[in-house]
């Protein structure tokens, strides 16, 4: 029986970095937008980075 530990480890690490990372970035954007000092430019930079991460995720799906 072969358990693919290295693949599981990769899914865990990349999942944590990409999943929790995008969530944290988006949260930072929301906070900058609705916090006491209203800072739209850094907020939208956060959202844009999230968008880039999503597009990269889709790119990995395509058989290129």
């Amino acid at each position: 029986m072969h358990i693919p530990w290295s693949e599981l480890g990769q899914v865990l690490v990349v999942g944590l970095l990409a999943g929790a990372g995008v969530v944290a970035l988006f949260a930072a954007g929301v906070r900058l937008l609705s916090g006491a000092p209203h800072r739209p430019v850094p907020a939208y930079s956060c959202f844009a980075l999230c968008g880039v991460a999503v597009l990269y995720g889709l790119y990995t799906l395509l058989p290129l």
Partner: protein
């Protein structure tokens, strides 16, 4: 084209349809629960993205034939039996509102039918452990961990922000994250049916071996899963959106983003996962990340039992159906008739306590399932 090949294709598309409505919840349950999307809009969006996803790639199309059973040892009638077993198990779990894995139902049905028709040697148990059982245990745990961390970070980072701004911000974010999960679902699950139809056409000699799915196969499989998604598995959406944990937009966003990240990472590494297990694990994680006591472990326990039972139950149904179908045309017709009668019976049973777009967000205490200890 032989009679049996036509029957298998129709049955495969029927399975694809149940796959669609069984799995609508994976992508859309938390968005519907938090009000980010209205129920009808959510299922329509998910249907379109599933169809788009079906066209994105054909790489996964052979996942189902990737060495789980010995394709040279089985006939189209056996595949038909496996499909009938998978459809019936999907309908039963839908009736009880349980988000079980459609992929496991399909694989279980195929294994059961193959085992009885061609013997245990035609089933590759080593591959099943590596490609099915290990991911079945690991994927919900990984998704839950990612969602727990993500949810914790969300609440930590937005602690000082205004509650109204946060809710509205994450509702918008959820539209994106839910769309991503729908798209990923289309690329994975629609292709399982495509791979199966292609395999049947190859075994029947209508296509050369190693052929890619023909366009009409991609189109019909994509349309079948999209139609199923649009019908909406409201019973399962209610379980995932309300019964496991009460979900705020922050948690829904964290759960969906975590699920999408885990699914995409796994697909990229060629590592098969059940989208259902990932999505449900992520919802549990989003409850854990907010406050440990937020998860209703009774509901989570019932889901875990359904996950455990899916492979053997679909396998047993597939074994019986495959054995009878293997007797010849009379057997195939008999299995088809019994399958249709049972499916209609399950549909009638569901009408006694109908769940639809109108009442999917109602908050009543008990799910219509028998309680399980734990």
């Amino acid at each position: 084209m032989d009679f049996i090949v036509v029957v298998v294709i129709i049955t495969a598309l029927a399975f694809d349809f149940t796959n669609g409505f069984h799995d609508t919840a994976n992508a859309m349950a938390t968005s519907i629960a938090t009000g980010a999307l209205r129920p009808r809009v959510a299922v329509a969006l998910s249907a379109v993205l599933n169809l788009v996803g079906a066209f994105l790639s054909v790489e996964v199309a052979r996942t189902i034939s990737g060495g789980i059973v010995d394709e040279t040892a089985i006939s189209p009638a056996v595949i038909f039996g496996g499909l009938v077993g998978a459809i019936l198990w999907n309908l039963v779990t839908w009736l009880f509102g349980l988000p079980s894995s459609s992929s496991h139902a399909l694989i279980g049905g195929l294994i059961g039918a193959t085992w009885i028709a061609a013997g245990g040697s035609a089933v590759q148990f080593g591959k099943i452990v590596e490609k099915v059982l290990v991911p079945a245990v690991a994927s919900p745990l990984i998704a839950a961990l990612v969602a727990t961390v993500g949810t914790y970070l969300v609440y930590r980072i937005t602690r000082r922000a205004s509650e109204r701004g946060v809710r509205s911000g994450f509702r918008h974010g959820q539209i994106m994250s839910a769309s991503l999960v729908s798209l990923a679902h289309g690329t994975n699950d629609a292709q399982k049916t495509m791979g199966l139809i292609t395999l049947t056409l190859i075994t029947a000699g209508s296509l050369p071996s190693d052929a890619d799915p023909p366009l009409w196969v991609i189109l019909t499989a994509g349309l079948a899963i999209a139609a199923g998604t649009y019908i909406g598995g409201w019973r399962i959406i209610r379980t995932v959106g309300h019964r496991i944990t009460d979900i705020a937009p922050q948690q829904g966003f964290a759960a969906e983003t975590s699920a999408a990240a885990v699914i995409l990472t796994s697909s990229h590494l060629g590592y098969p996962l059940s989208t259902t297990h990932v999505a449900s694990g992520a919802v549990i994680g989003s409850g854990l990340g907010k406050r440990l006591a937020e998860v209703r472990w009774g509901v989570a326990g019932r889901m875990a039992v359904a996950w455990l039972v899916t492979l053997p139950a679909a396998g047993a149904a597939g074994a019986v159906a495959g054995r009878v179908a293997d007797l010849g045309t009379v057997g195939v017709v008999a299995v088809a008739l019994v399958g249709i009668v049972l499916a209609f019976g399950i549909y009638l049973a569901s009408r006694r306590d109908a769940v639809g777009a109108h009442n999917v967000n109602d908050r009543e205490p008990a799910a219509p399932v028998a309680p399980v200890a734990g």
